[in-house]
Symmetry: C2
Subunit: 319 residues, 2 copies
C-alpha cells in the first residue's frame, strides 16, 4: 500500500494544462480509505498472484473510484469530501466534469499497462469497463429515486449494489484474474465483494445519521437534508405506522425545514422504530452471507483470515 | 457504413435505467457526419485489413466522439446540436454528465470486443485512451483560452490539434493497427489525420462566420457571441492595425452586445482584413502537407484516391 502512495506521487508529475491535472492530483493525493486498492492487493495475495504487478489494477480502481467521486459531487452539489472542498467547489463545474473524464481515462491507461499476459490485461480492462458502466447505472437510479414517489427496499439494494458494491467486488475479482485462479474462485470472491459492499454502504447510510462529523470526514445529516432515500429511511417507512409514515414523508418532501430541527425530528422517528438496531442486524446478515461464500473458496484456509477481519472492520467502522 | 447504422440500432435495445440510456440512443441515432467511423473503414481498406472487424473500432470512435459532444455541450451551454436540442437541454446537466460517462465506457467496451489478436486489441484500446485523454486536454485549453488575455495562434493550433485532430488521426491509425501494417505506415496515416483534422477544425471556425444555419446544423455566429478565440479571430488580431485590434477586443470583451450587431461588426473587420481568404489559404497549406505525407505511405497507389478526395471534401465542406 505504501508503494501505491509513492506511485501516485510519482505519476503526478507536472503536466499541462494545470486546470485539468491539478484537480486530479488534489483528489488522488487526498488519501481517503484506499479501500479499493487494498482489496486488489488482498485478493492477489489470497490467490497467490504477483503483488508487484497488482499495483496497476490497484491504482486503476482507485482512480476510477476518485473519478466517480468528482462527478458525483457535482451532481450532489457537495461542498466537502474527505474534510476538504470538493473539486467542484475548489475549481468549478466544468473543470470537475473534465478532470473527472480525464481521470477515468487515466484509470483505463493504468489498467492497460498491467504487465501480464495480453488476455489477462484484456479481462482486467473489460472488468474495469463493466464496473464503470454499472456504477453509472447505479448513480442514475440514485438520481431517479430522488424524484420517485415510492422506492422499494429491494430497488434500493439493487441501486447500491451498482453504485457501491460492484466496485469493491471488481477490485477483488481483479486480484483473482491477475492471479489466474479458477473462474469459480473469481466469481466467488466477486460475490463476497458484493455482500461486503452492500454492508459497507448501509453502514455509510447509518454513519450519516449516527456518525461523528470529525471522524466521518463529511458532514453528518447530509442524506436527511437532501431527502435521500437511504436504507434507514426506507426501512423506517416500511416499519412505521400511519402517523409516523406521514411525518417522515412530510420531512422528506421539502428542503425548507430548519436543518437541525429536521435532523432531530427524523432521528426521533428512527429511534422509536429501532432503526439503528434493525439496520445493524441487516448488515450482520449481509456479512454472514459474505463469510459463507468465503468459506467455500478453494484456497489455503490461513489466507482467508484478513477477509474475515475486513468484513468485520467494514461493518463496524466509524469513518 | 450502413452496417454501422444497423449496428447502432441493434445495440440500442431497451436497457435500464432509461434516463441513462435514452440520452445515449438519442445521441447515437441522431446521425451526424459519421466522419470518424468512415475514417476507420477507409484506413482499414487502405491497408488491406478486415473490414468486418473494423466495425468495433469504428463504433468505438463514434461513441467516444458522441461522449465528448454531450459533455462539451454542458460546458458550452449549447442549446442545439445537429439541429436538435442538446442532451443537456433535452434532459438536464446531471443526466448529461452521467450518460456521457456511460457512453465513454461503452466506447471502451466496444473496442475491447474487437475480434483480433489480443495484442492488437490492447494497442487499439491504448489508442482510444490516449485519444480520449488528449481530447480532455484540448477541451481544457479551450476553456482556459476563454479567460486568457493573449492567445497565440500557435497555442490555438496546439489546442485544436488535441481537441479535434487527434480523434481523426486516431481513427485512421486504428484502421492501420487493425490491418497490422508497419509502424511507419501507422504513424504516417496518423500524421495525415492530424493535418486534415486541423484543416477540418479551421473550416469549422470559418463556417461559424460564413456558413448557413440550415446546412451547418448549428446556429451560425455562436463563436462570436461566446467570445471564442477561433482561428479567424486570432488571425484578424494578428493582422489588424491598432484601431481594428481595439475594436475586436472591445467586441470580444463582453456578452452584453446586441447579438446581430456584434456579429456584423466583427464580420466587417474580418472582411477588411481579408480573413476568409487568408484562413482558406492556411487550410490549403494544411491539406498540402497531408497530401505530401499520403504520397510517402507504402501501399498500393490506387488505394490512396479516397484520401485525396476526403482532404478536399473536408476543406471545402458547407456543413
Amino acid at each position: 500500500m505504501e508503494r501505491l502512495e509513492e506511485y501516485f506521487k510519482e505519476i503526478t508529475w507536472q503536466k499541462e494544462p494545470q486546470n485539468l491535472y491539478n484537480p486530479i492530483y488534489y483528489t488522488l493525493l487526498q488519501g481517503g480509505k484506499r479501500l479499493r486498492p487494498r482489496l486488489v492487493f488482498m485478493s492477489t495475495k489470497l490467490f497467490g498472484g504477483n503483488l508487484t504487478e497488482a499495483l496497476h489494477p490497484a491504482a486503476a480502481f482507485e482512480m476510477l473510484h476518485n473519478f466517480t467521486l468528482i462527478h458525483d459531487d457535482i451532481m450532489d452539489n457537495a461542498d466537502i469530501r474527505r474534510g476538504q472542498p470538493t473539486v467542484y467547489r475548489q475549481w468549478n463545474g466544468n473543470i470537475a466534469i473534465l478532470s473527472g473524464d480525464a481521470l477515468a481515462t487515466l484509470a483505463l491507461q493504468e489498467m492497460l499497462h498491467t504487465n501480464a499476459k495480453s488476455d489477462t490485461v484484456i479481462a482486467l480492462s473489460k472488468l474495469l469497463a463493466q464496473t464503470s458502466l454499472e456504477i453509472c447505472e447505479g448513480q442514475q437510479w440514485d438520481l431517479d429515486f430522488e424524484t420517485q414517489q415510492t422506492v422499494h427496499i429491494e430497488d434500493y439494494i439493487d441501486m447500491i449494489r451498482n453504485k457501491t458494491a460492484v466496485m469493491l467486488a471488481g477490485c477483488l475479482k481483479a486480484g483473482a484474474i491477475l492471479s489466474e485462479t479458477s473462474v469459480t474462485n473469481q466469481n466467488a470472491i466477486y460475490d463476497f465483494g458484493i455482500y461486503i459492499g452492500l454492508a459497507f454502504q448501509i453502514k455509510d447510510d447509518l454513519l450519516d445519521v449516527y456518525g461523528d462529523d470529525t471522524t466521518f470526514g463529511k458532514k453528518i445529516g447530509g442524506d436527511i437534508r437532501e431527502n435521500k432515500k437511504t436504507y434507514p429511511y426506507l426501512r423506517a417507512l416500511k416499519d412505521s405506522d400511519n402517523q409516523q409514515k406521514k411525518d417522515l414523508q412530510y420531512y422528506f418532501s421539502s428542503s425548507d425545514f430548519d436543518e437541525k430541527q429536521k435532523f432531530e425530528a427524523v432521528k426521533t422517528i428512527y429511534q422509536n422504530l429501532d432503526i439503528q438496531k434493525k439496520s445493524e442486524q441487516y448488515i450482520d446478515s449481509l456479512v454472514s452471507q459474505a463469510l459463507a461464500i468465503l468459506q467455500n473458496i478453494n484456497c489455503p484456509e490461513q489466507n482467508k483470515q484478513p477477509f474475515r477481519d475486513l468484513a468485520i472492520e467494514l461493518s463496524c467502522r466509524t469513518k
